[in-house]
Symmetry: C2
Subunit: 407 residues, 2 copies
């Protein structure tokens, strides 16, 4: 036995001494193993699960029964079209515990419910300029919106919630700083939200959660950066299917990479940041779009993108110039990121997802010219989830946790 | 047993089915476990090793005997000052297999031998402007230098070699591109060197190897970026004590991060790259140092740094201005990197290690102003190994491999 325990030390890398694994840990591990092989793999019967996992039929049956009792799995009718004695396929329970996702962004709030199978069961978005209301009011309205979405799904049990915020979130759920929401500083948002919702709640940066949504619900990719742009610009860095958070959880602040050291001042205290050259407001300003002229809808990413698209399609020179300049700034920042990180794919999300016609050619040209091994292709594409990625990722992260830790 | 095997699947993350671990694998693993606990820990006797690893005394004795036979370990005289029955401490064998490190950089070549305990047993550096000689000649001279260093250590057995190059190296040892050595393109350097030296040889980027040298022989740090600057500028990114290589092994090209989108053209095809604003030649040029004026020694990093230090200390305005501008450019690029990666420490190596007096204050000011969470301290320091880091890391990587895979 000591040899086998020593084996496990290898995988832990730094641990030389290894404690024996108890029955409790093994059971928890095996529950997760069954959940994962059902979530990631094809439909399988108990017998097929035993074969795939290397566990005995008896062990598998005990584990599956336990997961059915917890409402995490259901057993379907046997597939009578298959040869031999048909097994009943086991699948995730679409009416089992679900995840509630909430997002408070600079100029809107959003909430959605995603069930265990990844399906969105309800989703609502409301415009709210959080720069002009207090954090208390922003939180209150987001909780009201979340409650409405929860009511909409009726009896579907909500296992927990996650909240996406446009700023640096510490691991204890405290929002340290949101450059575009100066009043949201050192706020224990997790505690407040959790209490008002009556649910366990995780808090994370919106670009991180948008990247996870792209990983789970977008094109299959192992390594990519999701650029999330609204008024602020953030990046979620996914390496080998995991979110890279940095040493203190503050990685991905692409919006504050300096593109022009002599450029305009930024709310963060620096100047010439990407956000000031390619953020939603920077593009609107450069295009000469005055928010008052076209109503409040322009404050919402879809409204802004729609207005820019309309003007660009009509050949408005100032708008086309603004989009080209934003594309160049983005290309410069992204080329630097690729040179540093050797990332093979970039997915443009948020408002950029709606502006691909104008941005992609310019960004692509900058990447080709500025990425060191120019013959290294960087795949450049548009996010399919657009501005709802972060809220989907929030709800999805609750579901992912249920699958990873079903005990 | 199936439960224990299922446990090990957890640590492999993506693998659901797990093959049984054979006796062969376990023996190899345990040899490595013993080597690592001797290399990383305090001096230990066989009994103490058994206690630390959880293996039986008999197993440990078999493993230690095997490693002594391979000349990797030696048993010292028992420590008679300790209480009770004294054990004989086991240590790494300083006369066991050693590593040969070689570096071919833009304007010099270097070679050294590092023994199993990490001590440099011989080291030589020669100026050679590889931009003016053919790759064949560069390789030939580097092999000659390496042979001289090998002769110097006499009977010390050389287990293998590693080569540091200033460019993108593919995992098969092919140098894809070296922006400052245009003729070194798509060269199978590993094969040529290995054959001429008669040794197994690994090839890697010089900044990566310099970062590993800093990790192994510098201040203890788990997460940092080593900036290696000579004529080119590279970065070795160490996350959680591992080198981050990127998806295709091309990460860390800090020198080609764009700092000024309207700046001077770069050999890489882009313009305004950090290298063009803060590389050795850019600083010399801006300071008005003409290489011909002060002899060939300025082409070598030490000579260049010495000349710049002399001029700066004498109050030469143009040199001080050149160093300030280089510091600003570096600060802008490094702040962007910290915003993206959330790295807590930056170590300045290569020529920068000798120019700290002039560069540190400027870089520090830029970081304070441009890193998003400005109250997040980024530790900024000078590399202790300076320009010999890469060649030390090369030799060290051979030794590290002997310790990690002693079978």
């Amino acid at each position: 036995m000591s040899d086998v325990l020593a084996m496990s030390a290898r995988t832990q890398e730094t641990v030389v001494m290894t404690a024996p694994a108890g029955q409790h840990t093994i059971r928890e591990h095996n529950l997760a193993l069954v959940m994962r092989s059902i979530a990631d793999g094809p439909r399988r019967s108990r017998a097929q699960l035993a074969e795939a996992t290397g566990l005995t039929r008896a062990t598998i049956s005990g584990l599956v029964d336990e997961l059915i009792t917890s409402d995490l799995l259901i057993e379907l009718e046997p597939d009578r079209s298959s040869r031999g004695r048909p097994g009943s396929p086991i699948t995730l329970n679409p009416n089992g515990p679900a995840g509630l996702g909430v997002e408070v962004n600079v100029d809107y709030i959003s909430a959605c419910v995603v069930d265990l199978t990844g399906v969105v069961r309800a989703q609502r978005t409301e415009l709210l300029d959080n720069r002009t209301v207090s954090p208390e009011q922003g939180i209150r309205q987001a909780v009201t919106l979340a409650s409405a979405v929860r009511d909409e799904v009726g009896k579907l049990p909500i296992a927990g919630a996650a909240l996406a915020l446009p700023g640096l979130v510490d691991s204890d759920g405290v929002l340290r700083r949101a450059p575009n929401l100066p009043r949201w500083q050192d706020l224990d948002v997790a505690a407040e939200f959790s209490q008002m919702l009556g649910l366990d709640l995780q808090v994370d940066n919106e670009a991180n959660l948008a990247a996870l949504a792209e990983l789970w619900y977008g094109e299959p990719r192992d390594d990519f950066v999701l650029v999330s742009a609204e008024i602020g610009i953030g990046a979620g860095i996914v390496l080998n299917r995991r979110l890279y958070r940095g040493v203190r959880g503050r990685a991905g602040e692409l919006g504050h990479v300096v593109v022009d050291p002599t450029g305009p001042p930024c709310g963060c205290g620096s100047n010439g940041c990407l956000e000031q050259l390619a953020g939603q407001e920077a593009i609107l300003r450069a295009a000469g779009v005055i928010v008052g002229d076209i109503g409040t809808s322009v404050a919402d990413p879809h409204g802004a993108a729609e207005e820019l698209n309309k003007r660009a399609r009509s050949g408005d020179g100032r708008t086309l110039q603004a989009l080209t300049e934003a594309g160049v700034a983005l290309g410069v920042a992204l080329a630097g990121m690729v040179n540093l990180l050797d990332i093979p794919a970039i997915v443009l999300g948020g408002i950029y997802a709606d502006l691909g016609d104008w941005l992609l050619p310019t960004i692509d040209a900058e990447l080709r010219r500025r990425v060191l091994a120019s013959n290294t292709n960087v795949e450049l594409s548009l996010a399919t989830l657009g501005s709802s990625a972060a809220v989907r990722g929030s709800a999805g992260s609750v579901v992912a946790e249920l699958i990873a830790k079903p005990h």
